[in-house]
Symmetry: C2
Subunit: 359 residues, 2 copies
């Protein structure tokens, strides 16, 4: 199959640190190439891939919320991509760039599919910008073929033309479970209100277990970090380490923890941190929101709770969780191989529908 994968210009492929979308793009692309498909990856010039790499921007622009409001960046990136699409024949375009690309995809004749990476439900608090317009876009193009990354992601807009739910995956080769734990809790992710790092700090303090935070701080979130999180970190003597860019370091960081805390405030559409943690043999204690009940097996690979105090309480039972079961569960149900196979099936469904509509 000849596949064009459209990635955003913010983070190079594969991502060295933070980058959920880019991780999916990287794994999917390499697996497709390995299976013998002809793949064009449209990303940034500093990406590394076995696919045919094409790009507009030499270097990734950085995951900067302010840049994301500059229309011209999208226009340049997408214009170059669609110039290529007009010159070469592809069987399918797989869009990971998001909503701006929909308007262009709708005006051309190659079958395409969107993966919905974000959260777009109606009462989403503190969205990263243009949420109303993004939802308008989804509804305008509700006939487009969509992949949801959890069933929960569909909640407020079930009327879109969903082809499948395909969970994000990890490569089992990248992880080994760590049985021997050290006395700390882990939190990893982007520092932002919705991810609840402040709740994690409070929970750890109440449980009397040290917390280590591996954080990515976007420029757009800097004010929130300085005003709300920094004082809490100081007060509780929480250990703040930077963004982890090395796979082995991440395996150790997550694997040696007693548990990973996932006290989200929003409906997380997938939450790759949860499967990474389980693949390191570390249970996840999470709030019952978004994809959480689809990703964690309650009482077997972690605990699904409703409130802060329940999270503190759950930590008392954490030793009942089997690290090896966590590893097995994550690598079986959420592997990049399974994800790739599912995407190929989705591509074929879309291509067949497209051919039938053309007739």
């Amino acid at each position: 199959m000849k596949i064009a994968i459209l990635s955003p210009p913010w983070i190079a492929i594969p991502p060295k640190g933070y980058g959920g979308i880019e991780k999916v793009v990287a794994d999917l692309t390499e697996n497709l190439v390995q299976m013998g498909h002809q793949v064009m990856l449209f990303a940034t010039g500093d990406s590394r891939t076995k696919a045919n790499l094409r790009y507009e921007f030499e270097k990734a622009l950085g995951n900067n919320l302010f840049l994301k409001n500059n229309i011209y960046i999208y226009l340049k990136h997408l214009h170059k991509f669609f110039k290529i699409i007009r010159q070469e024949k592809f069987d399918i375009i797989h869009n990971h760039v998001g909503y701006v690309a929909y308007y262009f995809l709708d005006l051309q004749n190659i079958p395409f599919i969107h993966t919905l990476h974000g959260a777009f439900y109606k009462n989403l608090k503190a969205p990263s910008g243009f949420i109303k317009e993004k939802i308008d876009t989804l509804l305008r193009f509700k006939h487009h073929p969509y992949i949801s990354i959890s069933n929960n992601q569909r909640m407020d807009f079930p009327q879109l033309n969903y082809i499948k739910t395909i969970y994000n995956g990890i490569n089992p080769d990248d992880f080994k479970p760590i049985i021997k734990k050290k006395n700390y809790l882990a939190w990893i992710g982007r520092i932002t209100y919705n991810k609840g790092v402040d709740i994690a700090i409070k929970v750890a303090a109440k449980a009397g277990i040290p917390l280590k935070i591996a954080a990515f701080i976007d420029k757009g979130d800097l004010e929130y970090f300085n005003n709300k999180i920094k004082p809490l970190i100081k007060e509780t003597k929480t250990e703040l380490i930077g963004e982890i860019k090395d796979k082995k370091v991440k395996n150790q960081f997550l694997g040696e923890a007693i548990a990973t805390l996932f006290p989200i405030r929003w409906h997380e559409p997938f939450g790759i941190v949860m499967i990474e943690s389980m693949a390191c043999g570390t249970p996840v204690v999470a709030f019952n929101k978004g994809s959480v009940p689809e990703v964690i097996e309650d009482k077997k690979t972690g605990f699904i709770v409703e409130k802060e105090d329940q999270m503190v309480a759950a930590l008392k039972d954490i030793s009942k969780i089997d690290p090896l079961y966590c590893y097995q569960y994550a690598t079986t149900n959420f592997s990049t191989q399974k994800m790739t196979k599912d995407y190929l099936e989705a591509y074929q469904i879309v291509i067949n529908k497209f051919k039938n509509n053309e007739k």
Copy 2:
């Protein structure tokens, strides 16, 4: 000829008050229809036209600089337009929307032409947003066919593929020259640093002649107006009247003035106010910038000066200017009929080039 005219979504056609671009669009569209061409005008639902009106937005969105930074407005407007373009066959698309549309136009197969309505030279001060990106866009698409609205507009970027300079026009039927003057000077336009309304106030004060300002104030310019202009107006007892929406009222406002002041700080790409003033029989005293020497005949339809003091001095000679000559000069050289004829020639040039490239 089957012509698609693409207008911005900010102001309905024809404009009731402020709206230089929309005035050109309105006059051109009606003239083309009258000449028997099949014209589709893509604007907003509250527009009035004899052409086939199509639109995305029911109502004009308002000329609001903040709205203009919302990528999704452009995307919706352009998406609907290009859906129509894909369904119906046009000979040419005439783009008045600006730079965002270039990226879409470049990805389709109908001949098109851009009219450059704005100023985009390198040292432009206080531009209205994304000036660097707009210039990037021009250079990226320098092979596109362009209409400049003055020769001066081309100054810093002569390398674009200009087809013609076509001056904006007025409809002679809309104007009559007023010979009998009242004791005041006129200033008309959008309140913004580049238009130099503060200079006009100072000049009038020094000359000892009352000034009347007919102003459009964009929300984005409100701070400038409140901080810089309002105090000056108070101090000098300048008369501030609102935006003039009625043609006859405007004819009277401009026509009864001794002179219209045009003390611009930027290189005005055209400046329709100058020809309107002359068509009302009122000379224009302007700074020698931008299109000014192409539009005013120095010492015959006004005075072209370099500095504030020269503008004060020129007002002493203003009675030497013949109002009827001003009227004649403006309606002969800058009529919408001439403008329409020139555009039709430009369309034909572009269509012929396109056909030759296809062979």
